[in-house]
Structures are given as structure tokens and as C-alpha cells.
């Protein structure tokens, strides 16, 4: 980008640094997080790291590209990765329910675990709570990190409503489990002689209301669940806290992924600010699907004026290409406008966050389906001068000259 004041993101330095143990890719939905994570993982593996990519919900063809066929919670070795540098690439898809079940099994005795797993509230919580996926992704990250089988874990955060959900989910779940409602719900079930104690007004209003809204059976199920879960609360909290500390630890780097669209960059801005507040290390912003303005020095208004001129030539046999030239000029104007607009949107972000390193990936004509495609994305991210660039992308020297301008 011509006006870019921000430093360029040095991806290779980051992935070559053995102290980097975790890279978290975050950003709003639809910005290419999964592809970016996979591309970074592949590049790091081919540069000698033992990498595990943890994805949450990859598009089918991307999953196939990495040889992932089932959501089975087990890291699988990805074939076709160059091992010349001594690295390797594993990839796995998160099974959030199974991850949750495993935590329950780890924290409760078998009888109690079975009771929890069979409870309808647990089943709802573990399979559909929007925050469960975020929480379980972080939990799995912690497990992978503790196993120490990989020296770099790249994690793709879930496509949440808000990019921040995965940071908040453990805390929210913890707060909820420690909440007064839970305490109240568990009180009658734990009391030796229920209802002989003085019930506070809040509680009676609440049980009355809950009975009305939910029905007595639902309330009973909820109480059973909460009581059974109660013994695990401490363990749960500790795990959530440990994951949170892991994200703040020196070996963790966050990459915020966005496209040059106002919504995506607004989320990215929130995220950058939030990471700062949480003392979590931001490595940089990756801007995907950038439409660069064409390189020819012809402004949109001039192109449009020229197109209009040509459109007034009525089928002049001396100017047989008038129509197609006018069309090409209009197209050029449109592309220039699009590039300029993206530039303005990106500038709004970079001027608010001038210290954040940025890497750009141009809009590619087709989606990535294979390792070769991921490798190309990795090269673009690392700003390689790549000779065998696929058709439809501008050569690297043009990108270089673009960087030099302005």
C-alpha cells in the first residue's frame, strides 16, 4: 500500500524464532483465518518447526487439502509437506463435545461423570453453547501445549459472533459457575433438610418464576446438573485461568486477520486494543484479499472521461476497438476506485495503530484447495520474491516497487 507507514510484518522471523510456541489467529468471520493459519503452519513446518495446526471449522476443501477427513480431535500428520528442513506438520479439527466430555471425565469420578454426561443440561451446554467452542478451543490449545510434542502450535479461533468471544468464554463460564444463581440452585439439593432453613426472598421469587417459565422438571434437571457439576467447579476455574495465563506467556503471539472492509477492520481494532489491555502479545495484522489498484498511472476520473469520449464515436471503422477500449477503461476506473477505497479503510486502521506490523495478501482468483496454494499464501505473507507465482497475480517486483512508493 502506498501510504503504509506501519512496519511490515516479518513472518519468517516470528516462525523461525524457536521461542515462539503458540500463534493465535483471530478476527471476524469470513476473513480467511483458517486458510491463514494453515498457510503459516505449513510454512513453519517447511522451515523446520514441529507444527500442529488446530482448526475449528475448516471449509471442506481446505480440510481435504490438509488430509483431514474427520472431526476426531486427534492431530494427524499432513502428507506432502517438505521435510528437508527437519520439520513436520500435524493438523486437527476440534471436536468440542468430546473435548468437554474429556474434561468432565478427568475431573469427576466415573459414576459422577456418567451422571453429568447423561444430563440434558450438560448435553445442551457441551454441544450448542456458542461460547463452548471458544472455550474448548482454548482448552485443547492448553492440552497440546502441555503435551510438548510440538514446538509450535498455530490455532485458528472459532467463527464467533465477536472476535473477542474466545478470550471471554473461559471467564464467562467461570463467572457463571461461581454465580449466585448456581449457589442458590445448589442450596436446596445440598441442604440436609431442604426448605427448613429460611429462604431468602430472592430465592423464592426465583424458584417461583423459574417453575413458571421452565416447568418443575427443567428446574430439577438444572439442579441435578449443577449439583453434579459442583465438585468440578474448582478444577474448571483453574483450567480456565491456566489457559488465560498461557495466552499471556512470552511464547505466544497473536495475529489479527482482517480484510480491507470497515466491519472486519473495526473488529480488528477492537481486538488490537483488547490484546493491549490484557497484556497479550500482538505480532501484527494480516490483511487478506487486498485489491491493489492497477499499476498504470491513469486515474479513475481520466479513465472514465476517456471511456465517455470513446462511447461517442459511433461505430467508426477506423477505431474498431472503441467499444472494448471503453469497457476496459471503465473496468480500470472501477478497480482503481476499489483499490483506493480499500486503501482508505486500511489507512484508518493503520493511522490509529501505527506500531502494528502489517502483512498483505492480494485477492486471489480462486480459493485454496491444496498444499501448493497454502504454500503460495505463506510466501505472500512472508513477502517472498516468488518466481513461479500462479496466473492472475502480479509479480513480486511490482509489489516491491509499490511498497517503495509514497
Amino acid at each position: 500500500m502506498t501510504d503504509m507507514k506501519n512496519p511490515l510484518l516479518d513472518l519468517d522471523r516470528m516462525i523461525d524464532d524457536r521461542r515462539t510456541r503458540i500463534i493465535v489467529c483471530c478476527g471476524s468471520g469470513g476473513v480467511g483465518k483458517t486458510t491463514t493459519s494453515a498457510a503459516i503452519g505449513l510454512r513453519a513446518a517447511e522451515r523446520g518447526r514441529q507444527v500442529c495446526v488446530l482448526t475449528v471449522d475448516p471449509a471442506r476443501r481446505l480440510a481435504q487439502a490438509m488430509g483431514l477427513t474427520a472431526l476426531d480431535n486427534t492431530p494427524r500428520l499432513v502428507d506432502g509437506v517438505s521435510v528437508a528442513a527437519g520439520g513436520s506438520l500435524h493438523a486437527m479439527m476440534l471436536d468440542m463435545k468430546r473435548t468437554f466430555d474429556e474434561i468432565v471425565e478427568a475431573h469427576a469420578d466415573p459414576a459422577r461423570a456418567a451422571q453429568i454426561l447423561a444430563n440434558p443440561f450438560y448435553q445442551s451446554l457441551s454441544s450448542s453453547f456458542a461460547g463452548t467452542q471458544e472455550y474448548m478451543a482454548m482448552e485443547k490449545l492448553g492440552q497440546l501445549r502441555r503435551s510438548d510434542e510440538w514446538d509450535l502450535i498455530v490455532v485458528d479461533t472459532p467463527p464467533s459472533r465477536s472476535a473477542l468471544d474466545f478470550l471471554d468464554a473461559p471467564e464467562r463460564l467461570g463467572r457463571f459457575l461461581d454465580g449466585r444463581l448456581i449457589r442458590l440452585l445448589t442450596t436446596p439439593a445440598r441442604a440436609t433438610r431442604p426448605f427448613t432453613k429460611v429462604l431468602n426472598a430472592g430465592f423464592s421469587v426465583m424458584t417461583g418464576a423459574l417453575n413458571k417459565i421452565l416447568g418443575a422438571q427443567v428446574l430439577r434437571d438444572a439442579q441435578t446438573f449443577v449439583t453434579a457439576f459442583d465438585t468440578m467447579f474448582g478444577g474448571f476455574r483453574e483450567r480456565a485461568d491456566a489457559t488465560y495465563r498461557l495466552l499471556q506467556a512470552p511464547g505466544t503471539s497473536f495475529l489479527v486477520v482482517a480484510t480491507p472492509e470497515p466491519d472486519a477492520l473495526r473488529e480488528a481494532s477492537y481486538f488490537v486494543e483488547r490484546l493491549g489491555e490484557e497484556r497479550m502479545p500482538l505480532a501484527g495484522l494480516i490483511l487478506n484479499r487486498v485489491h491493489r489498484s492497477p499499476l498504470v498511472p491513469l486515474s479513475a476520473p481520466r479513465a472514465l472521461a476517456a471511456a465517455e469520449t470513446l462511447e461517442t464515436i459511433p461505430n467508426d471503422p477506423l477505431v474498431p476497438a472503441a467499444n472494448i477500449a471503453a469497457a476496459a477503461l471503465r473496468l480500470h476506473a472501477e478497480r482503481t476506485n476499489l483499490g483506493d477505497r480499500e486503501q482508505r479503510v486500511a489507512d484508518a486502521f493503520t493511522s490509529a495503530h501505527p506500531a502494528v506490523p502489517v502483512a498483505e495478501v492480494p485477492a486471489l482468483p480462486v480459493d485454496v484447495h491444496d498444499l501448493a496454494g497454502l504454500r503460495d499464501i505463506g510466501s505472500l505473507l512472508a513477502d517472498d520474491a516468488l518466481a513461479d507465482r500462479p496466473a492472475g497475480m502480479e509479480p513480486a517486483d511490482e509489489r516491491e516497487s509499490r511498497r517503495g512508493r509514497g
Binding site: 469470513g30 471449509a59 450448542s128 459472533r161 418464576a209 427443567v218 481520466r302 476496459a328 477503461l329
Partner: protein, 336 residues
């Protein structure tokens, strides 16, 4: 009311879903605006509090309250074709819960106690199906609300900016979600009532997609998923952000003659015409590849067998004027 038939006559609740980044909220707003014509009254609901509607209409954040935010497009100076009224509502689970308590039990104050005690956290954390049923319940209630008992409906149509494609099946399949938790009881009855509206011909689920592989695949998956839920009526597929073709497919088939192109550029008063011709030809070639890709993805979407509408890519900020333009596109194509 106009005599003209649209594809969705008889539909009172329009549910709009789509993959993140496809412009779901924009399309929902444009559809609502398109429906708000001829004196009709339309409610636009935001189901996941991101305040996207407020931003689109350049308003401060919307409260949990039905507010008028725009006047629908009327016929050009034609008094017999007045505009309509567009209202908006941002639903959050907490507000929906209080509303539910008030509406059915007249116990708003108990609701406040519940909120303090963390009931809303309870509903959203432990049983998201419950919070979904409150949100969809609010939308169906608005769609069926009458000005007075036995009188006409208050809103002629309700448009809901719903959760994205990945969650839409669970979101709409409310009674199944709740039945695991509540086999009997009032919330179950409520869920069944909501399900009856959602699974009636008065409700249609529209998908928003761009002409790119991943959103198209997700749309087809979503269409298949909803098709498996008995009673749900699929609506249209709205292609958003389609790039218009710069020239006819015929013209783009063969690369243009560079000399002829340079001559034409010279006629238009431009300089360095040879280099320019080369560069423009390359842009045309890339554009042509992009058009082929779009054609392929469009055909994929058409294979779903639902009516397909198409909205152009808007370069620049989407403002209220743009929404009117998109709304009139949807009207012209029969979506409203």
C-alpha cells in the same frame, strides 16, 4: 398494496441468513426497505446484538424497542403509491426474557430479580436453546401481532437478520433444541408455538451469498440442512456483491488486438497508449477469468432450485441511499 405479485406474497416473517462477510445485514435491511412500500409497515429485527442495523441507517445504537428508522420508497411523485414505514428492533436475550415474563406472566419485576441473580447468564450459558427460543419467539410474536384482537396485523412483514448459516439450523429448530431440556411445561409450549410459526408458509428463510467458492458451498450446505428440517420453507438466494461484467462474454472471449486498442485510446486523448493498451488488456483478461468464476458459482447457486436474486458490488460506504438502491433492485427482481 400493489396488485403486482412478488415471489413471497403471503410470507410475513422473512429470515435472512448467510456466511459471515457476505453482507447479510445489508441485504436484510434492503429487503425490509423493499417490502416497506405502498403504505406497508415493516419491522426489521436484529437477532444478534451487533448494532449493524443502527450503523447502516446511521443511527445511534438501537434499544430493545421498536423504533421507526426509515420511510420506504414510494412511487415517483405518484400519490397513489405512497412509501411505507420501516421500524427496527435489536433483540438481546435479556430484553427478550423480560418481555416474555411481562407478556405471559405479567411479572417484569421478577424478571429484574432474575437478571440480577444471573438468570440471563443462565439462559445463555447453560441452555442456549432457551435463549434462541426467546429471540425467535419475539420475532414470531411481532409477525403475528394485531392492532387489536381480531383486527389486522400490525406489521405487514417482519424481516429478521438471523445468525449466520453455520448456526441457522439450530437457531430455527427451536422445539427440537428445547425438547431435550423441557419435555413439558410452559417454555416447551412456548417453543412449540414459535415452531408452528417458523414452520408455516408464513415464514421463509433466505440465504445471502457472494459468488465465491466458500460462501456458495456454505449456502448449499445450509439449504440442504434446512431442507431436512420438516416444515421449514426455503426462501430465495440473494447473491450479494456481484461484480458486473465490463463487456459482453463474447467481447471478452478473445484478447483484444493491442494495436487497435492503442489506437482507440489515442482517439480518446490518452498518451503512452501502447503501454496502457497492454496493461488494460491484462486487466480485461483477469476480469474475464473472474467473470467465468462468478458464472460457475452462480450456476451452483441456481442448482439449489430456489429463486435467485442478484445485487451488485457497492464500492464505497453503504449508506441509506445505497440501501434504497439495493431495495429497488430487489423489488425489480420480484423479491419484494
Amino acid at each position: 398494496m400493489t396488485a403486482r405479485d412478488t415471489d413471497w406474497d403471503g410470507v410475513r416473517l422473512h429470515v435472512v441468513t448467510g456466511k459471515g462477510g457476505t453482507g447479510k445485514t445489508t441485504v436484510a435491511a434492503a429487503l425490509a426497505l423493499a417490502l416497506a412500500h405502498g403504505g406497508r409497515k415493516v419491522l426489521l429485527i436484529e437477532a444478534e446484538g451487533r448494532q449493524g442495523i443502527a450503523r447502516l441507517f446511521d443511527r445511534p445504537p438501537l434499544p430493545y424497542e421498536e423504533r421507526k428508522i426509515a420511510i420506504g420508497p414510494g412511487g415517483n411523485g405518484d400519490a397513489s403509491m405512497p412509501g411505507g414505514d420501516l421500524y427496527a428492533l435489536a433483540i438481546d436475550p435479556e430484553g427478550a426474557l423480560l418481555d416474555y415474563l411481562q407478556m405471559f406472566y405479567n411479572m417484569r419485576s421478577a424478571g429484574h430479580v432474575l437478571t440480577k441473580l444471573g438468570m440471563v447468564d443462565f439462559a445463555t450459558t447453560i441452555a442456549p436453546g432457551l435463549s434462541d427460543v426467546l429471540v425467535t419467539g419475539k420475532a414470531t410474536e411481532a409477525a403475528r401481532r394485531r392492532t387489536r384482537p381480531g383486527g389486522p396485523y400490525l406489521y405487514d412483514a417482519v424481516v429478521m437478520d438471523a445468525p449466520p448459516t453455520g448456526r441457522i439450523g439450530r437457531f430455527l429448530n427451536v422445539s427440537a433444541e428445547v425438547s431435550g431440556l423441557a419435555k413439558v411445561g410452559p417454555i416447551r409450549n412456548h417453543a412449540d408455538t414459535v415452531a408452528n410459526v417458523i414452520k408455516s408458509p408464513q415464514t421463509a428463510v433466505h440465504f445471502v451469498s457472494t459468488l465465491e467458492e466458500m460462501p456458495v458451498q456454505e449456502t448449499l450446505d445450509g439449504v440442504a440442512e434446512l431442507g431436512r428440517i420438516a416444515g421449514i420453507h426455503l426462501g430465495g438466494i440473494v447473491i450479494n456483491m456481484a461484480r458486473p461484467a465490463a463487456a459482453t462474454r463474447e467481447e471478452m472471449k478473445a484478447p483484444p488486438d493491442l494495436n487497435a486498442l492503442a489506437t482507440a485510446l489515442g482517439k480518446a486523448g490518452l498518451h503512452s497508449t501502447e503501454a496502457l493498451a497492454e496493461s488494460l488488456a491484462a486487466e480485461l483478461a483477469e476480469h474475464s477469468r473472474h467473470m467465468e468464476l462468478q458464472d460457475r458459482e452462480r450456476a451452483e447457486l441456481e442448482s439449489a432450485g430456489q429463486p435467485v436474486y442478484e445485487l451488485p458490488l457497492i464500492v464505497g460506504d453503504i449508506d441509506v441511499a445505497t440501501l434504497y438502491r439495493l431495495a429497488s433492485e430487489l423489488r425489480a427482481q420480484g423479491a419484494a
